[in-house]
């Protein structure tokens, strides 16, 4: 979705989908995105950091629904199977091993992408059926400013991508503003979480590590053709290396959170940024308006 296609909500302000990413973990994505959501009206907050969702600590939602998220995986009935190997040959991920001599069918769930090609090519009735397998939980609830939606991947699951894309498909309301707290890193889950975003906020810390990983996410954001701006967290006024990179890359610095002991103390108690720094709520509101006005 491009900026030009954004809708307006009841109050007549534009509704935007804003994803918050970082590259490096621990730069303050969740700390920033929760307060951004809490400073707005009529907003949906998505915690898509599905391996360790912790936005709820700051948002403090009242959870009303817990939905198990399932994928379809094959189940082979070895009494019906003729061990023709069509399924294993068709599987692009080598998730099936058929051993005709031993009359054995082995399935490796961690390689399966739930594409369904195995059941499509199986020539035998009911030899290979698709069954549901839970990979995580979607928790839904409310907070003072709107809806809270969180994905939590089961421990041991190899990829958060299906859960993230499932949440975006089923729960992202095109008519409403959404703030999306993305996973850290630069891999597929991050890409999945920003696909539907109109704007991507990169939260960085002014350290060489923060810069190195930010460079990687900048490439992703550029490849996906998204508008972007950077929030510098833990800013001590000596963020030169970060600022210089951003100036050269023509990426604006849209917000700064100062380095302060008071913020750290408050953060460690689960108190959000907007309840810690006086006047910051107005600044976040204005930031949202600036972003939605292009």
């Amino acid at each position: 979705m491009l900026l030009g296609s954004t809708k307006k909500n009841r109050q007549g302000t534009k509704t935007m989908k804003i994803a918050v990413i970082s590259g490096k973990g621990g730069t303050g994505k969740t700390y920033f995105s929760t307060s951004l959501a809490m400073s707005l009206e009529d907003v949906d907050f998505f915690d898509l950091d599905v391996e360790e969702p912790n936005g709820y600590i700051f948002i403090k939602p009242v959870i009303s629904d817990e939905i198990q998220y399932n994928l379809l995986v094959p189940e082979i009935d070895e009494d019906r199977c003729t061990f023709c190997k069509k399924c294993a040959d068709a599987c692009a991920y080598n998730a099936l091993s058929i051993l005709p001599q031993l009359k054995k069918a082995l399935f490796f769930p961690e390689l399966c992408h739930s594409c369904g090609v195995c059941s499509f090519v199986c020539p035998v009735d009911k030899a290979l059926i698709e069954v549901e397998k839970g990979i995580g939980i979607i928790r839904k609830g409310k907070f003072s400013k709107g809806n809270f939606i969180e994905g939590k991947l089961n421990i041991g699951e190899p990829s958060g991508v299906p859960l993230i894309s499932g949440i975006m498909k089923d729960h992202l309301d095109p008519e409403r503003t959404a703030i999306i707290d993305s996973p850290p890193g630069t891999s597929c889950p991050v890409v999945e979480s920003i696909k539907k975003a109109d704007y991507v906020i990169i939260v960085t810390e002014p350290t060489p590590f923060g810069l190195s990983d930010m460079k990687l996410v900048v490439e992703i954001v550029k490849d996906l053709g998204k508008k972007t701006g950077v929030v510098i967290n833990k800013d001590r006024g000596d963020s030169k290396i970060t600022e210089e990179f951003l100036r050269k890359s023509e990426i604006p610095i849209i917000f700064r959170i100062p380095y302060s002991l008071e913020i750290q103390r408050s953060y460690s108690k689960g108190i959000p940024l907007i309840s810690t720094v006086p006047g910051i709520e107005q600044k976040l509101k204005r930031l949202y308006e600036d972003i939605s006005n292009g």
């Binding site: 080598n94 005709p100 390689l111």
Partner: protein, 106 residues
């Protein structure tokens, strides 16, 4: 007994054992009793993204091998070998003839 050996070159019994099992360059099926090469073929799966060990292990079982000589197979390939009652003899360097000798000495 038929042995399945992942090798990095096709040079008879002097072929070097590949340092990786599933992504070995060639596979050799070797007759341990008669000390004879049964056949050698190129590994056409070696550049696939995932689950190469599973495919390779499946081929070994399919070819009736009950022994695998070479680099330690990954856990998924090992699962296939366990199902097929295939013995795994880990050896990461040397030639096929070294490996056969070592196996017989053990």
């Amino acid at each position: 007994m038929r042995a399945f050996i992942a090798i990095s070159e096709d040079n008879g019994v002097e072929s070097k054992i590949d340092s990786r099992f599933g992504r070995g360059s060639y596979f050799m099926v070797y007759d341990m009793e008669n000390e004879k090469i049964i056949n050698v073929e190129a590994n056409k799966f070696r550049d696939e993204g995932h689950g190469v060990g599973i495919k390779t292990a499946g081929i070994a079982v399919e070819k009736g091998c009950t022994l695998v000589i070479g680099a330690q197979p990954g856990p998924k390939a090992e699962q296939v070998f366990n199902e097929g009652n295939v013995e795994i003899f880990v050896m990461t360097e040397g030639t096929v003839s070294d490996a056969v000798r070592k196996y017989k000495e053990k």
